[in-house]
């Protein structure tokens, strides 16, 4: 139950959990069997077969979300937001809850390539769509160029707004809203940073946009 206690033989960099890329299911889910992760993961081939749910749904229902390329089957009530589905049911805690009201941008994820606030998106409405979270940006050990640029330019302090900033920044570059500093600032204004990393975030985005490698 505790995280690693002091291990005298350990060395290397500071403690760092591996990001859950959405494909690992080794964690233990909550005791309640009614909600949460369903037992059997579906085959990836089902991804293409996802269809909108048209029947009336009441109470917990099975839903399939394609997150970071893999299909996750969940049993959730329709009122569960995408953000809570990610954080509380899929253990993908990279997407952050800063306000839960669409007022801070910390929960920003990409749905079908567009940046949205996952706190104001119902999970059930994202079936059949491609959901990309911060955990899905890096290719294995290789950081996404935007992640690397944030690291290099110190585009964060506490790190809590960072996943949302990075997802938003990736979309900002893809949208082409990076002509100049003023445009970047305006189009990144949906992501609050209370530590005040704004100038460094602009520097990171400029670098990626300038290289033209922010696009996937």
């Amino acid at each position: 139950m505790h995280p690693d206690t002091f291990d005298p033989t350990a060395g290397g960099p500071p403690p760092e959990q591996r990001p859950d890329d959405g494909s690992r299911r080794t964690f233990i889910k909550q005791a309640s069997g009614i909600l949460g992760l369903a037992v059997a993961p579906p085959f990836i081939s089902q991804a293409e077969k996802l269809a909108a749910y048209t029947g009336k749904v009441e109470g917990a229902t099975e839903m399939k979300l394609k997150v970071n390329g893999s299909i996750r089957t969940l049993r959730l009530e329709p009122r569960v937001t995408l953000l809570d589905a990610l954080r509380e049911n899929l253990n993908l805690t990279g997407s952050k809850k800063g306000c839960d009201q669409g007022q801070c941008g910390a929960c920003t994820v990409l749905v079908d390539g567009r940046r949205v606030n996952s706190c104001l998106t119902l999970a059930i409405t994202t079936q059949g769509k491609e959901i990309t979270t911060i955990e899905g940006l890096a290719k294995g050990e290789e950081l996404h160029p935007m992640q690397a640029a944030f690291l290099k330019h110190d585009g964060f302090q506490c790190g809590y707004c960072t996943p949302g900033q990075i997802c938003s920044a990736v979309a900002c570059v893809q949208e082409g809203h990076t002509k100049n500093d003023a445009e970047i600032r305006e189009w990144m204004s949906g992501n609050l940073c209370r530590c005040g990393a704004y100038p460094n975030i602009v520097a990171a985005i400029k670098e990626v946009a300038g290289k033209g490698d922010g696009k996937s």
Binding site: G12, Q30, C104, Q157
Partner: protein, 770 residues
């Protein structure tokens, strides 16, 4: 007597001060960093607070419907919540426990402030707990609340002391009233400051579970030890029965510096349901759960000569406090110390209202206090036709006027000069309202920054392994300030290892105790502790070598052995040398370990210790100083202000990481710009309840508000502060910011705004005033 140095000298090729990337950066940019609400414990349950609509009432609750709602495990009210061993207002509360709020919600049926918790719902899913919380029926027996010190019902009083007894309610130095009356220049002005909320992006969060009588909490706190002490006291446990873990913290700015009631409630209900409980405050709840910067008005009277030299300062502050405490930010401290002035008086008035306590918020006292003095001084400069920098130089304090002590170091003149140069201050038209850019009025203003070095001690443990790695630990937190990174750099240099061979651990009460990360003390205290611990490690290695007949250092005197890059050698004959690994191996030790205590501020005695005439150690007044330069563009018809340029130059002792330090100073300036231009929590005066308690209603700066910024540090070696010569920079960057903005707005428009924030409504009509 050993030869270990008392003060850190950077080794050749060292990494301290270098702009190293954050060592926790990869975890943060990949989403792997786990914050306090992000541990998927088996059997985890969700707690949601039911809070009071009224600010002053007695409640009775009907929980029947909520209890029946699907997934609900329990609903706790004052009637059934597991009791606490001691309440924060108990006369028999343990010594050394200073809870931020002297009242515990759910300890009775009383409500003393709006949104006070009155019930806690626990369910197996977050949505279920949230919904069930809406099903709790509350009946109020309400009385009229007092909303603020401005409420006609409020009773003002003169406190003996404020800030939990830390500052006297009334201070006099010299004969200020008489001096003022005789001054050629007499300036009197009143400044108001809106309620501000810290609003870190990570809401307060506690995940708590019990194993028998042992409590573990993952808590979003700036001080794991303070939270541990508080929880131990409230539950009647020994400290070691409580473990607090904060691996990552999503900002704090002061509001996570205390153990607030929600953390206690989470632990209480976790005990009740016998399962792990996660309680995350909603954003609106963040406005009424973790303190705020209080609503306040300050009147500052300044006496000066015709040459602009200060002769008297009289400062009065009136503010709102809670029903139980005498908290007010001590604004007067910076007013009394910033400039040379022989006569000074400060007094505080408080009024109790139905609000939760205010608390320290980034640069508590210094931020609003500097707004007053730096605005008044600017006024006098214009009045007398003196350049704003020049008037500050004329009043330059050669010593601390508050206590007469010499400065341990002060680079303020260099900060003014370098800042002016970077900003192009000399090109500024000194007349206000004269500089235009199209439809905008352009203004340039400046202000002084300063923050004290608070006295503080901490500990760290260094374990050096024979294979050339080290684990360094201290129970500090990293709230985004870079603690992980700068302590890795410090450890690398004091151990002579590359930084990638260091693992620095923090944020767990099983580690050596460190102070709260607040008041800018963490960097200096923890780095000094590591330095001291490392010295002790080297002492032990030297002892081994001296006693080892196979070592070239066999029987050498302790004082003759030096360590460079992990190699021990004779000072006078460097060919007599051996790497520490060889010494450990022959001694069959895999590692060697020491703990060190770093002192910070008063109490540290460095190498350069000097004595006064009575042979007592000379003590110094210790402060960091800096200067902000701000350019604004004001749209006189629409009343909007945009900051278009920013320069900050600061002297803050040794800078441990040029990159993270620059970021922190930028962050301080942005925090100050928020207070200057937009941040205000509005409390309804009839209901004593906030009406804009969210991030759409409470405006913090967004990306589009902030220009690129230029930040520099003046090199400063201060051997009196601590072993690392680090003053700390968490608050400094914010002090004086609001004044620099207001001074720039004045320069642009000729209109002096003394009420923060400077929103368009306050600036309308500026077109007519110039």
């Amino acid at each position: 007597m050993s030869s270990e140095p008392k003060f850190f000298e950077q080794p050749a090729g060292g990494v301290v001060g270098k702009p190293m990337d954050r060592v926790d950066g990869r975890a943060k940019v990949t989403g792997a960093a786990r914050y306090s609400a992000e541990f998927a414990l088996p059997g985890l349950t969700y707690a949601v607070l039911v809070t009071s609509a009224m600010a002053n009432a007695k409640v009775s609750l009907d929980t029947t419907q909520a209890e029946k709602a699907p997934g609900v495990l329990a609903v706790y009210t004052h009637l059934n919540i597991p009791p606490l061993a001691v309440l924060p207002n108990s006369p028999d509360k343990p010594k050394g426990w200073s809870p931020p709020m002297k009242y515990m919600p759910l300890s009775n049926n009383e409500v003393q402030y709006a949104n006070q918790p009155i019930a806690v719902v626990i369910a197996d899913a977050l949505e279920r707990a949230q919904h069930a919380a809406t099903l709790v029926k509350v009946s109020y027996q309400a009385a009229e609340p007092i909303a603020s010190f401005e409420d006609p019902k409020a009773k003002l009083f003169d406190p003996q002391a404020i800030q939990d007894g830390k500052t006297a309610g009334h201070t006099v130095r010299g004969n200020p009233k008489e001096a003022l009356a005789q001054s050629a220049v007499q300036h009197k002005a009143t400044y108001t400051h809106a309620i501000n909320h810290h609003n870190p992006l990570e809401p307060a969060a506690t995940t708590a579970f019990w194993e028998g009588n042992r409590l573990t909490v993952y808590d979003a706190t700036q001080g794991i030890t303070r939270t541990q002490t508080s929880l131990a006291a409230t539950f009647g446990l020994a400290r070691e029965q409580v473990r607090v873990i904060t691996q990552y913290l999503g900002g704090g700015f002061g509001c996570k510096g205390s153990c607030w009631p929600h953390t206690v409630l989470a632990a209480q209900v976790a005990r009740g349901v016998g399962r792990p409980v996660k309680l995350v405050l909603t954003r609106p709840q963040m406005f009424t759960s973790v303190g705020h910067r209080e609503d306040q008005t300050q009147t500052l009277q300044v006496g000066a000569t015709k040459e602009g030299k200060l002769t008297a300062l009289i400062h009065e502050k009136t503010s709102t406090t809670s029903p139980w405490d005498n908290y007010a930010e001590s604004n007067s401290k910076i007013i009394g110390m910033l400039y040379a002035c022989p006569n000074f008086e400060a007094s505080y008035q408080l009024a109790r209202a139905n609000v939760m306590p205010s608390t320290f918020m980034r640069a508590p006292g210094e931020a609003p206090g500097s707004f007053a003095i730096e605005s008044s001084l600017d006024d006098i400069a214009y009045q007398l036709g003196i350049d704003p920098i020049e008037i500050r130089l004329r009043n330059y304090a050669e010593k601390d006027s508050n206590d007469g002590k010499a400065w341990s170091s002060k680079s303020l003149k260099e900060c003014y000069a370098r800042g002016a140069e970077l900003f192009g201050w000399s090109k500024r038209n000194p007349k206000p309202g004269q500089t235009r850019d199209g439809r905008y009025l352009v203004g340039m203003g400046m202000a002084t920054a300063s923050y004290p070095v608070h006295s503080s001690q901490g500990t760290a443990r260094v374990r050096l392994f024979a294979d050339g790695r080290a684990v360094v630990q201290s129970g500090a937190t990293d709230l985004g300030t870079g603690t992980y990174t700068v302590m890795t750099q410090t450890s690398a240099d004091v151990l002579g290892l590359p930084p990638d061979r260091i693992r620095f651990e923090l944020g767990d009460t099983t580690l050596p105790t460190a102070p709260n990360s607040g008041g800018s003390v963490a960097a200096g205290t923890v780095s000094s502790s590591i330095f001291v611990a490392a010295q002790d490690v080297w002492r032990k290695v030297k002892e081994l070598a001296r006693a080892d007949s196979k070592s070239p250092l066999y029987r050498a005197k302790m004082d003759d052995i030096i360590v460079e890059g992990g190699t021990l050698m004779l000072k006078k004959d460097r060919s007599k040398a051996e790497p520490f690994a060889a010494i450990l191996e022959r001694a069959r030790l895999t590692d060697i370990e020491s703990t060190g205590m770093g002192r910070y501020g008063a109490g540290f005695e460095g190498d350069d210790k000097t004595t006064d005439q009575n042979s007592q150690p000379k003590t110094y007044s210790m402060h960091s100083f800096g200067a902000h330069f701000c350019e604004v563009r004001v749209d006189p018809e629409l009343g909007t202000v945009r900051v278009t340029r920013w320069v900050g130059v600061h002297g803050a002792g040794r800078i441990l990481n040029a990159k993270t330090a620059r970021s922190q100073m930028i962050g301080g300036a942005i925090f100050g710009i928020g207070a200057a231009l937009m941040e205000a929590t509005e409390r309804d005066q009839n209901f004593a309840r906030y009406v804009n308690a969210d991030l759409a209603g409470y405006h913090v700066p967004v990306q589009a508000d902030i220009p690129d910024m230029t930040i520099e540090f003046v090199d400063e070696k201060d051997p009196y502060i601590n072993a690392m010569g680090v003053k700390g920079i968490g608050e400094l960057g914010m002090v004086g910011v609001a004044a620099a903005v207001a001074n720039a707005v004045y320069h642009a428009t000729g209109k002096r705004i003394r009420s923060l924030p400077i929103t368009p409504d306050k600036l309308l009509g500026t077109a007519a005033t110039v």
